[in-house]
């Protein structure tokens, strides 16, 4: 037999050990060496606070009373965990994005940072958690009592109460020391998390050890254990279907909404990737915790005297078998389960109370300007410490009042049903943008009332709170409001009845009110942020032009998150804005960012209210929302315009490149032409000079004289023609030409041109005179000059074997055009650009016998006349199109 003193010594030693580990973890984290503290294993183990003393002791009792039904409590969370992709992933992302500090904070943030909703959820959670905390205290006391009995020192009730009080005080101290050390911006508690992880391991191994001992040490192996199960009172498969489904749902819902689960799942989550491991490792943990529950229950029922409390089989069975050390190990496991739950639950509740009840009240009482005068930091930490004490005190009082008699399982389920009332608002808020604050308030309110009426109050027993007559006849004789038979429907299992009605009414009211009401701007903003958290991860602006001074904001931030951190935050922001000073500009983005940082310490609603006081309530309005949307649309439009512009620029650049090419080519040609024109001028000049010298020297026959002077004349004529052309072009280009307008027909002009060029012998000319009967009113001589030029060109350059020139007249788009098409090889594409330029000549100068001015002159003439001349590609030879000037 263990002496009672030894047990107390072991317990105290164990608690001291936890203190040391927690301190070590905090120190390690403070030194920045705490990377392993954020590992997925620690995360998974910290989730194990789901398994409280209710699991450790209660599951066996539950199994002894109701068979396999206890499994639903662990199957529900298993489903939630392996279905993490659906809900948890989003929940964790939102929690991290918005610096959520608690489940109340989440609901309040989602529905427009509403203070009232925060208060409501907090109250619901406190009410639901109190019996649960009492349950943990009770389990610790009962387990100590078991040892005192077996040591022959039977305790009386006073001893038990005193022991419970001391347990509560000890837990309060531990929680206050490690839970409120810092008002951290991300609200993580390394010391506590590591202590919980250690406790998770202890309780798992304790239960496994007891289980293994029972199966192989007592029952004699797996086969005999199964036989024992088949012989036990729970052998028949007789599961109530409704309860099975309902409780599985309830456990899954509670897993998401219990404040302590939210704390470890979301708030203490350091890395989203941790979920990946937890998705299978935590179900494994639950499975191992449940594995030996039924064997322990049936062996306990078999071995222990009738009337033993099945809730304590885990302890009493090893004791009865004389395994004292196993019993002590088991006791430590139970202690771990109870303490870890109480610690995290009180922290979570204290955070809610300080953020959603105390601080808002204090803010209201101080009025505007409180931000810069009071010390919020001390207030929040103080409130949190008091709340921890308060929650534990509530639990203790509940324990005293309830007398610690009710079965553990029933208390746990009542608590679960209470917290599950948050579920519709939570899921609706995460996945439905139409969920509104009024919907959430109404849904949670109705759920809370139904839960209280049908489950919480009746749980104290007939005549305790609710008179027995009300159970039979309903309040004030309203039979359809009987706690166990709402709307007159009798015969449903009370637990199932409460789950069913509270969830149905809660969800329906939530939905209907949401649909009927219109959300405020901030609500809509937050709604979009939450629901679409994976799409746009940047924080939306909840502030417009701010009137706050950066200095005031800094003073306030220092009071909340501490001087060092606040200054670092402001400096970082200033650097981002490209400023050297410590104070950034108060931009809406900065204010939103600051608010989010503050929300990590005091919750979104309070942070919003505080920032709101400094910025004089210049919050977001519907107009701003629309402006934001407009801004996005404008940006989109602007970018479209930019795109169009850049396409246009590309086109321009292409044109410029073309022009540049043309210029370069021209410049080369000009150089070539200059040398050529000098050559052109020089050749006649040379012959004129030489022959005139010969003439001057005399001594010639008359024949020779005539011939030589003929040459001189011809060369002079050639020279004159060249100079005439140049002069002509220059006159045309400068616009000094006077047009001699006359009437005529196209046919006459072409006739004239053909005869002037003397064509018809070397080159065949095909015409259709009938079509050429086009009346003209223009400078007939000039136009004829153009035609002559074109025909002469064809004669000169057409390289066809049998040169043929077709002259085609047609009507295109209201004006007459004349095409001159030969059957030569045409003009190469790259040259089509330059043929109309001055001095351009494609072939050898000698052969051409011109100066390359013909087409340039033609173009100038056509421009003067109001017509056009262009090269016509793709006609099987060189082709020029002359668009005639309009006749009138």
């Amino acid at each position: 037999m263990v002496s009672f003193q030894f047990l107390v010594f072991v317990a105290v030693f164990y608690v001291a050990f936890l203190f040391v580990i927690a301190f070590a973890a905090e120190r390690s984290a403070a030194k920045g060496k705490g990377k392993w503290l954020r590992s997925p294993i620690i995360y998974t183990l910290s989730l194990s606070i789901y398994c409280t003393a209710w699991t450790f002791y209660g599951a066996v009792g539950y199994a002894a009373r109701s068979g396999l039904e206890y499994l639903t409590i662990y199957l529900g969370p298993t489903i939630v965990m392996i279905g993490w992709w659906w809900v948890l992933r989003k929940l964790v992302r939102i929690g991290r994005m918005h610096r959520i500090t608690s489940i109340a904070d989440l609901i309040s943030s989602r529905f427009g940072k509403s203070t009232s909703l925060g208060v409501m959820v907090t109250l619901l959670m406190v009410v639901a958690a109190t019996p649960y905390v009492a349950l943990q205290l009770q389990s610790v006391t009962q387990s100590i009592a078991v040892f005192s009995q077996s040591a022959g020192q039977g305790w009386v009730t006073d001893d038990l109460d005193r022991a419970t009080l001391w347990v509560a005080v000890g837990l309060a101290i531990f929680t206050i020391v490690f839970g409120t050390r810092n008002l951290d911006a991300n609200e993580r508690h390394h010391g506590i998390v590591i202590a919980i992880a250690v406790e998770a391991v202890v309780k798992l191994f304790a239960l496994l050890a007891v289980g293994i001992f029972v199966v192989w040490g007592v029952a004699g192996g797996i086969g005999p254990t199964l036989e024992l199960i088949d012989k036990s009172p729970i052998a028949e498969w007789d599961q109530h279907s409704g309860r099975w489904v309902g409780l599985t749902f309830l456990a899954g819902a509670a897993f998401l909404t219990l404040p302590r689960m939210f704390q470890v799942l979301v708030v203490e989550n350091a890395d989203e990737n941790n979920l990946l491991m937890a998705s299978w490792a935590f179900p494994l943990y639950l499975m191992l915790m449940s594995l030996f529950v039924v064997p322990i229950a049936v062996v306990g029922l078999d071995r222990l005297p009738a009337g033993s409390n099945p809730d304590l089989f885990v302890l009493t069975l090893p004791l009865a078998e004389g395994q004292s050390f196993l019993a002590i190990f088991s006791f430590l496991g139970g202690l771990s389960s109870a303490t870890s739950m109480v610690i995290v639950a009180t922290i979570a509740l204290a955070t809610m109370i300080s953020n959603h009840i105390v601080t808002p009240i204090w803010l209201t009482s101080k009025g505007a300007g409180a931000m810069v005068s009071g010390d919020v930091r001390q207030l929040v930490i103080g409130a949190r410490r008091l709340s921890i004490g308060g929650v534990l005190l509530l639990g203790y009082v509940y324990y005293l009042l309830s007398g610690g008699s009710a079965a553990l399982a029933a208390i746990g389920l009542i608590s679960f049903t209470g917290v599950a009332q948050i579920l519709p608002a939570l899921i609706g808020g995460l996945f439905w943008r139409g969920a509104t604050r009024w919907g959430a308030v109404a849904g949670i309110g109705v759920g809370f009332v139904v839960w209280t009426w049908t489950l919480l109050l009746p749980s104290f027993g007939p005549d305790a709170v609710v008179p027995a007559a009300v159970f039979d006849n309903g309040p004030l004789g309203l039979r359809y409001l009987r706690p166990y038979a709402l709307f007159g429907i009798d015969g449903i299992d009370p637990q199932l009845h409460a789950i069913l009605w509270s969830m149905i009414l809660n969800t329906t009211i939530f939905f209907v009110v949401s649909v009927l009401t219109f959300p405020q701007p901030l609500e809509r903003l937050q709604g979009a942020q939450f629901v679409n958290v994976f799409e746009h991860s940047q924080g939306a602006r909840a502030w417009t032009q701010s009137t706050a001074e950066a200095e005031d904001l800094l003073v306030m931030a220092q009071r909340i998150i501490g001087a060092g951190e606040a200054q670092a935050l402001f400096q970082r922001e200033a650097q981002l804005q490209g400023k050297a000073s410590y104070l950034p500009d108060v931009t809406p983005d900065f204010v939103a960012h600051l608010e989010r940082e503050l929300a990590g310490s005091v919750g979104a609603a309070t942070a919003h209210a505080m920032v709101g006081q400094l910025t004089q309530g210049v919050s977001v309005s519907v107009e701003d929302l629309i402006a934001v949307a407009d801004e996005a649309a404008q940006i989109l439009e602007y970018s479209n315009r930019l795109e169009a512009k850049s396409a246009e620029q590309e086109r321009t650049a292409l044109q410029l490149r073309e022009a540049n090419e043309k210029l370069t080519q021209l410049s080369i040609q000009k150089d070539a032409f200059l040398s050529q024109i000098s050559h052109e001028l020089r050749t006649p000049m040379t012959s004129i000079r030489s022959f005139s010298e010969i003439l001057r020297d005399g001594d010639m026959t008359a024949d020779q004289t005539v011939r030589y002077s003929g040459i001189i004349h011809a060369e002079a004529v050639r020279l004159t023609r060249l100079l005439d052309d140049l002069l002509d072009l220059s006159v045309l280009e400068n616009g000094q030409v006077t047009l001699n307008m006359q009437r005529g027909t196209l046919r006459d002009l072409i006739d004239q041109a053909v005869s002037a060029t003397g064509s018809g012998q070397a080159m065949a000319i095909k015409r259709r005179p009938a079509e050429e009967n086009v009346p003209l009113y223009t400078d007939v001589d000039r136009l004829t000059q153009v035609f002559i030029n074109l025909i002469a060109n064809a004669q000169k350059y057409c390289d066809g074997e049998k040169p043929v020139l077709r002259i085609v007249t047609r009507q295109i788009g209201g004006s007459s055009v004349v095409d001159f098409i030969d059957n030569g090889s045409g003009i190469a594409k790259q040259n089509q650009q330059v043929i109309f330029e001055k001095f351009s000549r494609l072939t050898d100068a000698r052969k051409a016998g011109g100066a390359g001015l013909g087409l340039a002159i033609c173009r100038e003439i056509m421009t003067r006349l109001g017509g056009e001349i262009a090269y016509l590609p793709g006609q099987g030879g060189a082709a020029f199109r002359v668009v005639l000037p309009p006749a009138s």
Partner: protein, 89 residues
């Protein structure tokens, strides 16, 4: 600023990941239905169905779910496209 285009067809590895995510989505639903399966068994005295059978069935199912979840988690990692793509403040 144009909305990111959603591809209609993916390369093999991304396709595989999508299907793994599909399995992840289906698993809790399938698991839940399988957990409710014993409720269809005949109940009460002389039905021939025992708690021990349900116990074994449920634990085998449980282990199977854990193993599948573990395998999926290993294959998936956290996919890059779910992380914030820009503006990491």
């Amino acid at each position: 600023m144009a909305a990111p285009k959603k591809l209609t067809f993916l390369e093999r590895s991304s396709y595989r990941r999508r299907r793994i995510r599909d399995v992840m989505r289906v698993m809790p639903i399938a698991g839940l239905l399988l957990m409710f399966l014993p409720l269809l068994w005949p109940k009460g005295e002389g039905s021939g169905y025992f708690t021990s059978a349900a116990l074994i069935y449920l634990f085998v199912l449980w282990v199977a779910l854990i193993v599948i979840a573990g395998v999926l988690a290993r294959y998936l990692g956290i996919e890059p496209d779910s992380l914030p793509q820009q503006d990491k403040r």
